[in-house]
Point group: C2
Chain length 404, copies 2
């Protein structure tokens, strides 16, 4: 009858730690998400140990709750995003997404080769520098209520392109590393599948919904509109993993489709309690994955500082150059918005460790780099956005019409 | 990057099956919960096999989501329950809870002894006849919007008493079965702990909240009232398992405490999307646990029919006699409201199987009995409540003042 006791305690600890962390961060004028990640680091295996390493492994209940949390977060962000608005920033988003993959990949490969890795191994290390994790930035943009701004749209559009390219890149370096020849045909097919998925779901789904949004009203169940779009969200999140993309891309597209319905405002409102309950699990788990013990040497800390600086500078440069047509300030916001690597860098590092490419220490450094970028971004981004906001309408008017 | 693929597909299948099941049930004028349980049975290992036995084991992500779902459901039911209203039906609730444990236990022991079990083993079998699972009834009462009626309050109060007594009974038969002597002192301590927990949390918690509900407004976070009471819900759900009670008892108390705050209506409103997303997992998993293969013989089906009839009749008699002061119709509603055994019977049967007391077949029959009671109750209860409702105010007025 009481097998559930342990897991309930774990959930309670995670949830209360997240609330305390968010509250403290907000009193320090920092985004709440920073506090949630820090709380995860504090209660995780490295410090207090209230969460054991086994609690946060892939596929455990806590990890699945975290995954659901970030899926719902990107769904909610999609709900506040219209396809037409995204189209207006298409050119900037494409440039940001592309440059934001090429520059970090090149910088990471050069650094790894400089550290003594063979070229093929260096490319694997470099892949961990690439993928932006949209969850962190999305949360900051949502907390500050600026999802409607041009910069936010560029970031969200670029995150989709970034994810497609990063997925391809990982496919290439994995097959090179495995000693296999580069199968150009299967790569082209993969690319076509991913682009086709995003295009058909994003464009076709919103079209269908615009013309048929009445069908959401047919069922008897009073919460039927919500449950139907939640089913769509879970379904597309799964489907996007089948096309090699992150689950959050499908969830974002599901939200964008749902934003075309008449129930849009109601759905936005109903999603908030789901986010309040479930997203803290994602950010606490993200923080709990930082293994501080592996970094407890001057040499490791120095390497971490260099890697983190390279990761930030290369991504920032890609985003900044790609969004330069929006003006320098907006370009800086876009650039910083693309910086967080979050859990994607962690997963690539795990693959590298399992394949014997990385040492335990390089693994810990790449994981710590991914999470440091995730922790540094929110306060910088919040500061840039607030400063931009305070400069009033003159600047805003310019950025809003600069691209389209 | 894509370890989450399988689990997302499983969640999608469960969620969409629940929606389809609920929709079909409602079109057939049955409570939605019946459709969700039936959908679980259909996609479970016994029929379609879209859920494997491993997917729904205790402690798996799906099982934890189911647990969270029923915890939130009883929290929401608690939110619609005031302690003062519960006190008014205290005498009836106590009688219903006590008789509803004694009669099924006696009937179960007699049946098992008649089937050839030794007396001590018969008591273990009988324990599986006892515990009412409040989740099923609570969902029906909530779907029909009758949580404010006297009968509903008696059922909810009796469910708390039922759970305390069932927990004690399980302790007694487990220690007898294990060959240990009956340690009266530890039993008294256990009983005192459980009653003390319910009394202190239920009475003290509501008192504190009534005088101090302003503190919910202090934090900065806009969803802070919701997140604070959700933390309370998880915390008390865990704490109640530490006192040997079901997690849902703690969740119910947390809801009752939260119902004393000024934010009560807002909280009720915000809980609905959480229920819409998470409770389907509980009912689908409940249905998926039915193992039809073990029941595929005339002898097994006959035994199942007898056991189910005994289980229904004895619980109904206990509830009916206990609530007779409310009038016959109301007493019948209360009696049927106590009938579902749900997952508690399943867990006791698992203990019996592990201890070698039950054969595989007796195990399957007791599990099927628990779930049959859960499936039969909702339509009967809905029918009784609708008939009672149609008979107008005269009868309602009588029942509302009959106890207090």
């Amino acid at each position: 009858m009481h097998h559930a006791s342990d897991i309930l305690l774990t959930l309670f600890i995670i949830f209360i730690a997240a609330q305390i962390g968010a509250e403290v961060a907000q009193r320090l004028k920092l985004p709440g998400v920073v506090g949630e990640i820090a709380a995860g680091c504090a209660i995780g295996p490295s410090l207090l140990g209230w969460l054991s390493p086994g609690d946060i492994l892939a596929g455990t209940p806590v990890d699945v709750l975290a995954e659901i949390g970030v899926v719902l977060l990107l769904f909610a962000v999609g709900l506040e995003t219209r396809l037409d608005d995204l189209k207006k920033v298409g050119k900037s988003a494409f440039l940001v997404g592309t440059l934001g993959v090429i520059l970090p990949f090149a910088a990471g490969a050069l650094w790894a080769h400089g550290e003594g890795f063979a070229w093929i191994k260096s490319l694997f290390v470099a892949a961990a520098f690439v993928a932006t994790s949209a969850g962190i930035t999305a949360r900051v943009l949502q907390e500050l209520g600026v999802l409607q701004r041009t910069e936010s749209r560029v970031i969200l559009g670029a995150a989709v392109i970034d994810d497609i390219l990063a997925m391809l890149l990982l496919g290439v370096v994995s097959s090179l590393q495995g000693g296999g020849s580069l199968d150009l045909q299967s790569l082209v097919l993969t690319l076509a599948g991913a682009i086709g998925f995003v295009a058909i779901i994003g464009w076709g789904g919103t079209r269908v919904m615009r013309s048929k949004s009445g069908w959401l009203e047919a069922p008897i169940n009073p919460h039927s509109a919500l449950t139907l779009v939640l089913a769509l969200c879970l379904g597309l999140a799964w489907l996007s993993t089948r096309f090699g993309l992150a689950a959050i891309i499908g969830a974002f597209l599901a939200g964008m489709i749902a934003s075309e319905t008449r129930q849009r405002d109601e759905l936005e409102h109903q999603t908030l309690p789901l986010l309040a309950f479930l997203t803290p699990f994602f950010f606490v788990v993200t923080g709990a994955k930082i293994n501080l013990a592996e970094l407890a040497s001057a040499q490791a800390l120095w390497m971490l500082a260099v890697v983190t600086l390279i990761a930030i500078a290369s991504k920032l440069a890609g985003g900044f150059l790609g969004a330069l047509s929006l003006g320098r300030r907006s370009a800086a916001i876009v650039g910083f918005g693309m910086v967080p690597r979050g859990e994607v860098g962690v997963v690539i590092a795990s693959l590298g460790l399992a394949a014997g490419v990385f040492s335990e220490q390089i693994y810990a450094i790449i994981v710590a780099m991914s999470l440091l970028t995730a922790m540094i971004t929110p306060p910088v981004l919040a500061w840039l956005l607030r400063r931009q906001g305070e400069d009033g309408q003159r600047d805003d008017g310019k950025t809003a019409s600069a691209d389209g």
